[in-house]
Symmetry: C2
Subunit: 265 residues, 2 copies
Amino acid sequence: MNELVFVGLGLNDEKGITVKGLEETKTANTVFMETYTSLMPEFSLENFKSLCKKEIHVINRQDLEEDNGKKILQAAKKGKTVFLVPGDPLIATTHITLRIDAEKQRIKTRIIHGISIISAIVSLSGLHNYKFGKTVTIPFAENFSETPYNVIAQNKQTGLHTLCLLDLKADTNQYLSINQAIKSLKTIESKKKMGIISESTVALGIARAGNDNPTVKAGYIVDLENFDFGEPPYSLIIPGDLHFMEVDALIACANAPENLRRNIK
Amino acid sequence: MNELVFVGLGLNDEKGITVKGLEETKTANTVFMETYTSLMPEFSLENFKSLCKKEIHVINRQDLEEDNGKKILQAAKKGKTVFLVPGDPLIATTHITLRIDAEKQRIKTRIIHGISIISAIVSLSGLHNYKFGKTVTIPFAENFSETPYNVIAQNKQTGLHTLCLLDLKADTNQYLSINQAIKSLKTIESKKKMGIISESTVALGIARAGNDNPTVKAGYIVDLENFDFGEPPYSLIIPGDLHFMEVDALIACANAPENLRRNIK
């Protein structure tokens, strides 16, 4: 059957894929994979090949951008084609265009979801999902922007938490660290002086979500800015108003100091 | 090893679990499962048992609430205990208390994430993740609340999309339909008259996310309020400002009418 199936690889390693996703891969005529949009720290292509027993065409950013996914679309016109993507295949905007192009060319598309960093971070944090506002990405210093600070300020106004994704270039092994992200927010604070980020602001850093040993550390900015989170990838949450159940979770599961209780609202 | 491993079952059926999650289940000393917090329409306990080859203790809401998870904690003190939960195990607040209790009793906990409805819906919608504001649940008529309307209004003020989860009681097979959810929002509109929900408001309904044939239909409220979305579970998105790429996706992948283009901002 001619179709393009987007399959999520999930997080961390070759076992982050769902049983369903692996089955779809095994029964495909052609399999493509990209690993540049996100880091899967313990992913081994060799191990994955032995799981799915398929030849895998690994494509990089340049391939996909230069030919607009033509290779993938051509394969999908001939038979069942699986495109493997880290995390969930369509939660980042990167591959939505490919799906639109396929549908416009009357190629049927399906999505086999994968674990997304977006939900994994919320789950690991112990914070309540319905209290998160808009998500934002904190960019590398060379793309400095005040937007993350403004989004945090806007969310805080209505008591909401902010999930900050930290920029990465997986293909060149560059990851914005939690420490650098905090520094960037403090720089904007020192200019805008809205009282959004200070040493006593509560924050939560998460490294290696989806790994067996993620580092999850909550506390005040002063505790986190020099904390060693270990290997990437990284995320940062700046909470808004905290419910006592959330503070309980941060103390029990995210190594937060007992005096975080004074921040319960 | 004594530990409590929360494992996500993901969406739809027994193959929604990750390869990693299945392995953890296979190597557990004791396995518990709850299926009342969410509907997995095609899940078969028999099929799952033959996948993991384990005895599974299915627990219901009453079990867990009455004994505060004592059975699970006692098992976790004796050996590796897996607790299987639909979706991602800790993205709803339901089981956070159990994790806190375990950690307080010095039982090590780990999370094997599962596909969450939260990220699957965003991925299926074609809308941009960083443009979603606060998420809200639309309750059954007997728990009527103006909160969902207010959250949509607040998100729209800053151009943000609202993901509305529709209430469900999986244990008694009750699901708020998309049609009922729209009706509820219109009732509040007729009272508050803030111009948030009208016949020409853009909306997006999704049924059976994670299934091979989800129903995804975007259009104006007038198109959606009598649309047949088929079997549950259901979700509803009320978009804020729409980028042309998002409208492209809604037309190509969510069956939206061409005249949705007049809503591009």
